[in-house]
Each structure stands twice: as C-alpha cells, then as structure tokens.
C-alpha cells in the first residue's frame, strides 16, 4: 500500500542532499574538531562551515550559534542556563501552550526553587497577548520564553511585539522556534529575540542535532561540564556529521522557503476547507490566518485521537493527534485545553501537517479516507452509548 505521510510537524524525511553531505563526512572525516593536527583541522573546518550556514540563514553571527543535540536540549540550555546566571533575577515568564521541553523545564526549575514562574494564558486561537507579558514582567524577571509557532495548532505568536517589550524592560527573551525555522523567514536582525531554539529534523535535516542562537551579550551559564567545547556553553565533542546535516538543511530550507511556504499554504487551506466542509462538527484549532503554512489542525466531535490515528494508519495515512510526545496518554492535550476547548471535544484532536513532497492528489485522497474513518468512529460510538 502506498503511504501518504502527513505528519511533518513530528519529523521530516532527510533531504537527499543532506544525507549525501552527512555520509561524506562519516566516510571521509574522522578527526576530532578539538585536535590540532590535520584530521582535527578538517573536522573543525566542517563544523565552522556548518555554523556559518546556520548563522547566515537566520541573520546571525557564527559565534552566536551553539550546537546542541536538538530542540529539547536547546530549550533546556536557554531556560536553565539563563536562570543559573547569578544576577539577582529569578523571574521566569512563559505561556500555557509551550512545548513540554519549555513548560516542563520551567515547572522543574520552579519546583526546585530556581525560578519564580508565571504562566500566561492564551486566547481561543492560541495567541499570547503581549500586554499580558508586559504585566507579568518585573524588575527581577530573568527570562521570558514564548514559542514562535505552536507545534500542535500552528498558531504564530507575536514574538516581535513580545521581544520589544522585553527589550524595553531589559529582560532576556527566548523563543522556541523549532516548528518555524525552515518554514518561515526568521531573521534575528529584525526580531528582538536573544535566545532561539532550532531543531534540524523539523526541516529535512537529521534527528539528534539542533542549535541555540545566543545573541551577543546575552548571559547564559553552562548546564553541563566537560571539555569546554562550544565556548563552554555546550561541552562535548561535536556531532560533526550532524551539524553538517543541519547546515545543509538550513541552507536548502532558506532557498526554498518562499516557494514552499506558498505551495504548502495552499495545500493546508485545501485541507481546512475539505475537513470543515465535509465533516460535520469539525472545529479548526489554532488561528484562522496567523498559522504555520503546513499546519491544519482540528477537533472532531464524537471521535478520539487514538482511534483516528489507528484508523487512518490502516488506510495508509500518517497523521497525529496532539503532540507525538504525549501519545499514550488518555488525557487531552494541555495546549487544546488552554484554548478553552471542552475536554471531550479536545480528545478528538487531529493534526495534519504537509511537507515538500505532499501533492494535491494526496490531500484529496486523505480527505476521502478521513470522511470514511470519522463516519465509522461516530457510528461505533453511537452504538456503544
């Protein structure tokens, strides 16, 4: 059976050019970038090149890029590293719809007395009100962390306005841009943000590698100790092939960003129109227009996520419900509850995220399969009640 993959927010297939570049590194460059002899220098040159590619793609200076093992580590380094700085500030302000890597880290810091936590709610579209951030910030606030775009519902947050407020108040601003970098133009010269989390496998790069952008002058402490790599901010021998993959993936994403964003938005809108038009009691979740070009997410009354995913998988379609990290829990997603959605409705969540290889024909066959699966689930529920 031919599969149709519509879960690009979970992960993306590695671009062939990325795979080729990484394979070449694995085959040809075995040196440790910290070594001073020829093999080491060759590896160092690759890491430096990748750092330039990442920096170029977001308008940063290479020295502002810290490689990590992915988005989760970048988020942890931003929050824990910032709160660890002993400057008399302990306030941490974040939103109710952050990824677990941020919200659970924030809660952990608060639980261990390392941060005073304020969690800001969102409106029914998942938007954070910048004025609410302004009110939550005080003289002792160390960090504000608000994601650029939400992984479940695709809403794009007003991080420019939030960044301006943070800058006015002299507070460090972190944004988890794992879902948006690669999909949206992201330039740190235009967005007043100090720390940005990036994850390669969300834009056709490899899993297990990411980066934290750290604006020059931003103070963060290291959270792990060792050989002092990455200027001591993230010590450990560099994942050479991985960062090369990240660099190439980032360059390709920037080259294709404008055309892909237009093409994918049209597919997304086709899905939104198809689902809300063909399926009764389907609610679009997230903002109607301020959303990621590839994200169509819904709640379908009278269904539940697990059965939707299994039913669609059996028909050959890969989609998700809520965030992949929360699967296996019967609780509805915290993000959907933060929108004020009814618990029962939130259990029937469906996230469809298109990608570079998605075609219009695939979208249409998905819409037909979804109608079949939802019809069956709803009649099954009606029988058991």
């Amino acid at each position: 059976m031919e599969r149709v993959y519509l879960d690009h927010a979970a992960t993306t297939p590695v671009d062939p050019e990325v795979a080729e570049a990484m394979t070449r590194v694995l085959r040809e460059t075995h040196g440790n970038p910290s070594s001073i002899y020829a093999e080491g220098r060759a590896a160092r040159a690759l890491v430096d090149g990748a750092r330039e590619q990442v920096a170029d793609a977001i308008g940063a200076h290479p020295s502002e890029v810290v490689f990590t093992s992915g988005g989760t580590e970048a988020d942890n380094l931003a929050l824990r590293g910032r709160l660890k700085v002993e400057d008399g500030r302990d306030g941490l302000v974040t939103s109710a719809i952050e990824h677990h890597a941020v919200i659970d880290t924030a809660r952990d810091l608060a639980a261990h007395g390392q941060a005073r936590l304020s969690v800001i709610g969102v409106d029914r579209h998942g938007l954070v009100d910048p004025e609410a951030i302004r009110e939550a910030v005080d003289e002792q606030t160390s960090l504000v962390s608000v994601m650029h775009a939400n992984n479940e519902i695709g809403t794009i947050e007003p991080i420019e306005a939030i960044g301006e407020i943070c800058r006015e108040r002299g507070v460090t601003f972190h944004s988890d841009a794992v879902q948006s970098v690669g999909a949206l133009a992201f330039d740190v010269r235009k967005i007043p943000v100090d720390l940005v989390s990036i994850n390669a496998h969300k834009f056709y790069g490899p899993k297990g590698v990411g980066a934290l952008y750290v604006r020059r002058g931003t103070r963060i402490a290291t959270t792990q100790t060792g050989g002092g790599q990455e200027k001591g901010r993230r010590t450990g021998t560099e994942n050479v092939a991985g960062v090369v993959g990240l660099g190439v993936a980032m360059r390709i994403a920037r080259e294709r960003q404008t055309s892909e964003s237009g093409r994918q938005s049209r597919l997304r809108d086709r899905i939104i129109a198809g689902v809300t038009g063909r399926i009764e009691d389907a609610v679009l979740t997230g903002h109607p227009t301020r959303r990621l070009p590839n994200n169509a997410s819904f709640c379908l009354a009278g269904t539940e996520g697990e059965s939707l995913i299994v039913g669609l998988d059996l028909e050959g379609f890969s989609v998700s419900s809520g965030s992949a990290c929360t699967s296996g829990e019967t609780e509805p997603s915290a993000v959907l509850l933060a929108l004020g959605l009814d618990r029962e409705l939130a259990k029937g969540s469906l996230r469809v995220t298109v990608g570079r290889e998605t075609t219009e024909a695939a979208v249409d066959s998905f819409l037909a399969a979804l109608a079949r699966v939802v019809g069956r689930l709803r009649s099954a529920t009606a029988v058991t009640v």
């Binding site: 697990e306 039913g311 059996l314 296996g328």
Partner: protein, 359 residues
C-alpha cells in the same frame, strides 16, 4: 469477509505465536496490545501483568519480529472498573471472584472486540487463548477445549456467545503441544524461553488481600467465627481476607479440621464446618450464558467444571431465565463468585457464576 484480523498481544509467547500463525496463513494481521493499568504501571505493582509497560515493549518487539503493524491501545479505564474494581468489591462482600473471566467478558471480548469491529473496521479478533472453535456447515460455531489439555483455557471463555464466536479466533488452540508452539516461535525469532505461566492474579504482585484492604478497609473489621448452629468458636480478622472453602484455623482445640462454609457480610460473620458439612450437591447460579445463545433445553444433563482445568462432575442443570440451579451427582465445594462451566465432552456448552449461599 476481509482477511484483516487483529491479534491481542500480551507480550507473552502464546499470543505472539498466535499472531505468527495467522501471518503464515497469509492474513492481514494487526497486533494490538492493551494497556490495562495506568501509564507507568505504578498504581498496581504487577511485574507479570500483561497490561504493564514492560509487557507492551515485549509485544512491540514480537510484532516487529513477525513483521506486522502494532498499536498500543488504552483500556485501563474498563479494566480498572470491570475487573479490578469488581474484584475488590467481590472479596469485600464475601465472594471469591474470577478476574480472568471478568477480563475476557468485559475487556477482551467486549471492549476490544467492539472496537476492532466497529472502530477499526476489521472482521475478526484473535487471542492467544488455548481453546478451539469449530464451524459447522450451517455456519454455527462451537467452542471446544484446546488440543493440548494441559494448557486448556476454555473454562474462562464460557461467556462467549454466537455474536462473539463469529468474530473470534484462537489459532494456538489447534496446536498439538508446546513443541509445536516452540517451533513456530523459533521460525519467527520470537523469544522461546516460555515465561512461567501466571496462575496468580495478574494485577497484584504480592498478596491480593493488601489490595482489597487498601481499597475496602471496611472489609477488614474483626467478627465472629461460628458453627452451623450459631455457636461462636473464634474471631476472624475480616471477611475480605477469607475465602469459602479455606481452612479456618479455629477448632484446633477440638481436633476438628474446620473450613469456611459461608461468609455473611451483613453481620460480618464467618460460618465454619467440617469437610462433610461444607461439600454440597446443589448450587444456584446467576448470569448464566450459553455458547449457542440458548440452553440445549430448560433441563439438561451435563458435566460441570468448577475450577480452571478442573475435573468435570456429572450433574443436571435447571435453567430459569438468566439463573440456573445445578444438581451434582457427587458433593463438591466451590466458592461464590466462581464460575461453574458446563461441558459436553470437550465442547463448552455455557456456564454461570455461583451465588452466595442463601441458607
């Protein structure tokens, strides 16, 4: 009928082999593992329970070895309510529940089977039970003991009716013995070191009484131990810790061996008697079910099995609605809450749940 079949995989070798048998036959096999205790398995510490995370990982690996899709689905709510909850309630009311029967009846062949058919659009559910199903030319399905009598599990499947049997398969019930099971397992690279078969209650790791005590502390109030005629001969520590038929521990002074005859929760009393006093020939049953959907006739002769892999006792069944009276040819002892299952040679006819003694 499509050839898509879901297989309930516990993580053990039997259900893995069941999936392998169907896959070899060329069916479109989907493995499914049921989470039966809440995530992490912390609430009920049960290392051998098939519904804990570790077993789920075993099931996932087996499905990958066989080469079939696999899903972990959550049935913790229904298991908690219909199996664990009722188990506690039964002990607290002086009965001796059979959680395997409850799990088959409410979880596997109701909740899961219903989802497989209605939600996922498949036609059939297979499990790793040792039992056989035969199909007559008329289409009628009959339920039999497994070929390997030593592993037979048909006792705990008596509640299956025509609706369920039409959609259920027991692939390993046809296998001759464990050598055949082992051969199939090794062909698919499944772990052959058969885990010790659990005869205990799967969802409690230690003493089940600790679970009953924590959920129903009121069943652990001391009360009188009496003889048949009302003479008080001792004190018990709580009805929740007692089972009809067990040695009572009192009467040592008189040299008599006394067994628990019945439990009367409304006055918190345990009535004890000698072996002769407690063995009976007549039992009342409720929730009586028949594999064919109805009894052979309102009164019929049968062989009654009173425990898992127990020996059949000849007897007569009088059916009245969903209740029945059984009259055994020779006296036997069975605790209320246990299943009495009717067999005709190797065929399962039906069964019911033994009522508390009303004397």
């Amino acid at each position: 009928m499509s050839d898509r079949v879901f297989v309930a995989m516990s993580g053990g070798v039997d259900s893995s082999v069941a999936a392998a048998v169907l896959k070899e036959r060329g069916d479109d096999v989907i493995g499914v593992w049921m989470r039966l205790v809440p995530g992490g398995g912390e609430q009920l510490d049960a290392p051998r329970c098939c519904g804990t995370d570790e077993a789920g990982e075993d099931a996932r690996r087996a499905a990958a070895a066989i080469g079939i899709p696999f899903y972990a689905l959550d049935y913790a709510d229904v298991f908690g309510e219909r199996v664990v909850g009722r188990f506690v309630h039964a002990y607290a009311s002086g009965e001796t529940p059979n959680p395997c029967v409850a799990c088959n009846q409410h979880v596997k062949f109701d909740a899961l089977l219903g989802d497989v058919v209605r939600k996922f659009g498949a036609d059939r559910l297979a499990t790793g039970h040792y039992a056989r199903i035969g199909t007559e030319r008329s289409g009628r399905r009959r339920l039999y003991r497994a070929r390997d009598r030593a592993k037979d599990q048909s006792y705990a499947l008596y509640m299956l009716g025509p609706r369920e049997l039409a959609r259920v398969e027991f692939p390993i019930g046809e296998l001759e013995d464990k050598d055949e099971t082992r051969a199939i397992a090794s062909r698919f690279g499944l772990p052959t070191a058969a885990k010790a078969e659990s005869m205990d209650i799967c969802f409690v790791s230690g003493d089940y009484r600790d679970l009953v005590r924590s959920r129903a502390p009121e069943a652990f109030a001391p009360g009188p131990v009496e003889r048949h005629d009302g003479t008080v001969v001792g004190t018990h520590a709580g009805i929740g810790a007692l089972t009809v038929g067990q040695r009572s521990g009192v009467g040592v002074a008189t040299g008599e061996r006394l067994y628990v005859l019945r439990l009367e929760p409304d006055r918190n009393a345990a009535v004890v008697g000698t072996r002769d006093e407690i063995s009976r020939t007549t039992y009342e049953l409720s929730d009586v079910r028949f594999v064919a959907g109805e009894p052979p006739s309102s009164t019929f002769e049968t062989s009654v099995v009173l425990r898992y892999r127990g020996i059949g006792i000849a007897g007569r069944v009088d059916v009245h609605g969903t209740d029945a009276t059984i009259e055994l040819r020779s006296p036997a002892l069975v605790a209320p809450g246990q299943a009495a299952v009717f067999y005709d040679a190797d065929e399962v006819v039906g069964g019911g749940v033994v009522n508390p003694d009303s004397r």
